[in-house]
């Protein structure tokens, strides 16, 4: 056990000069010890050259410009394929391309869904800087939604593409349940905005909840773990669960969770152009409503808010195929 000395005792043990000498000795000992560790690099002479630590460079600016370019091209192409070309195959090819580029190549980290939080934080905190890519990725799909509906969801979003691809045995969801679940994205959006911008400070009587700012959407992203082929267990488990669910029910994340989808759904209600199932010569057969895995066709009309512009309805339409054939005959007269 160590004994502690008071000042009086210390004076008794080591008075006057001796105390000064003791202090000097202690300083000297400390400096000797310090010098032992604090060594300058030794002189190795010619025989040794200092290795230089490597510094892998970050991606150059052009790849960020390429991302924005790909987004614009993807949105434009999706709008053209859905509204003009009316091609399910085309939309599918585009979404596979988006899954490969934005999902697996760029590892899903440049996403408008997450950008909600950056935008919120930038508006809430004046010291926060935002990158031009995030601004582009947040606003361009919104503009596209006002013009052409949710073309981002159909052709560009890698999360949507993945879920679209695993939809093997589409089942209908009861309309009431579907409607109720469609409120979830707004709850998620509100939570995400609150946590990204301000964190949580609540006081309920003696209970006090405090949580720092965090990016909930990124922490609970279902498929980012798959894109990166690594991630915490809960993330991968949620992703696997949603994929399993998505085999039977079309795009569960997009319809009932995605907060950005919530915003897009609000804006696409007023879109300038949108999916119109049959041009003018309808049959009223209802095959399109049968084919729509998202329950977005009501009274044989595509509901602008919920339509994910996947173009499946065209594919199921006998009239559409007939018209296409006629058009082909007109284009190529034999």
């Amino acid at each position: 056990m160590r004994r502690r000395f008071s000042r009086g005792q210390l004076r008794f043990i080591a008075p006057g000069r001796v105390r000064f000498l003791l202090v000097a000795l202690a300083v000297f000992a400390a400096s000797v010890l310090y010098a032992q560790y604090q060594r300058t690099p030794p002189d190795f002479g010619e025989s040794y050259s200092f290795p230089t630590p490597t510094h892998p460079e970050p991606d150059s600016a052009w790849i960020h410009s390429l991302d924005i370019l790909m987004l614009v091209a993807g949105l434009g192409l999706a709008a053209w394929l859905v509204l003009k070309r009316r091609s399910r195959n085309g939309v599918m090819m585009l979404s596979i391309g988006a899954l490969a580029y934005f999902g697996f190549y760029r590892k899903g980290c440049i996403c408008p869904i997450g950008a909600i939080q950056n935008v919120t934080l930038c508006l809430a905190d004046s010291s926060y800087l935002i990158s031009i890519g995030v601004i582009a990725f947040f606003f361009l799909p919104l503009v596209a939604a006002l013009l052409f509906g949710r073309v981002f969801c159909s052709g560009v979003c890698p999360l949507g593409a993945l879920q679209d691809m695993v939809l093997l045995w589409p089942k209908k969801v009861p309309q009431k349940l579907d409607r109720a679940l469609r409120w979830l994205p707004y709850v998620y959006l509100a939570l995400a905005v609150m946590f990204a911008g301000w964190g949580l400070h609540m006081k309920l009587g003696s209970w006090e909840i405090r949580a720092a700012r965090r990016f909930l959407i990124c922490e609970w992203d279902p498929f980012i773990g798959l894109f990166r082929l690594s991630g915490p267990f809960y993330m991968l488990a949620i992703g696997a669960g949603l994929i399993l669910l998505g085999m039977f029910f079309g795009r569960p994340y997009c319809r009932w969770l995605c907060p950005y989808g919530g915003i897009l759904s609000l804006l696409s209600r007023f879109s300038w152009k949108n999916v119109q199932i049959t041009p003018d010569k309808e049959l009223d057969c209802g095959l399109c409503a049968e084919a729509c895995p998202y329950g977005a066709i009501r009274e044989l009309r595509a509901d602008r808010a919920t339509c994910l512009s996947c173009a499946r309805c065209y594919d199921s339409c006998p009239r559409h195929h007939e018209l296409r054939k006629e058009a082909l005959v007109q284009v190529k007269p034999s």
Partner: protein, 197 residues
Amino acid sequence: MSEKSTRRKFIDRSARIAGFVGIGATAGVLARRVSGDHVYQVDPFKCTACDKCRTSCVLSFSAVKAVNDFEKCGYCMLCPAYFDVTSFPDEKGIPSGKVCPQDALKRRVVGKEDPDDPNNNYYEYVIDEERCDGCGKCVKACKPPAGNGSLRLEIRYARCVECNECAIKVACPDQAIIRVKTPGMAPTESPDETKVL
């Protein structure tokens, strides 16, 4: 065209215009605070090697690694970042334990080796990035006065996926994740001169 449909169209158009104006205005506000071509990096002068870099990175194997600045390194035999100096020493006086839990800090003798007295040798310390998980235990141990402060944590861009928002930055208790201009080197001199690494 029926009256209802005209009204619907009017509402649509008004809402659309309002939407465009809203998007434009918000984008305009945000565009004033564009960060440019900056990337995230660890500021070694603020970093306290708290272990958050290991646990908070979105990658399960963090993109933050320890880096040894050889110009500053003392090449010590008894490297406090290599050996756990509190562990029991063997007969030659070399501590039995190591600091790095991943055994990612490797060393090799520089020049001629004196097998009898290890104190006569100089050692080069290199980090094996395949093993390093960025916990920063060695960085902490290398801080002065025990060490020269040659080890520091650095975001390795070969691994970093460059998220919109760095998850480590959100978690960092010391605000040590800063934005630096490309090529993304960590600051080598403290902006605050009273602070010494």
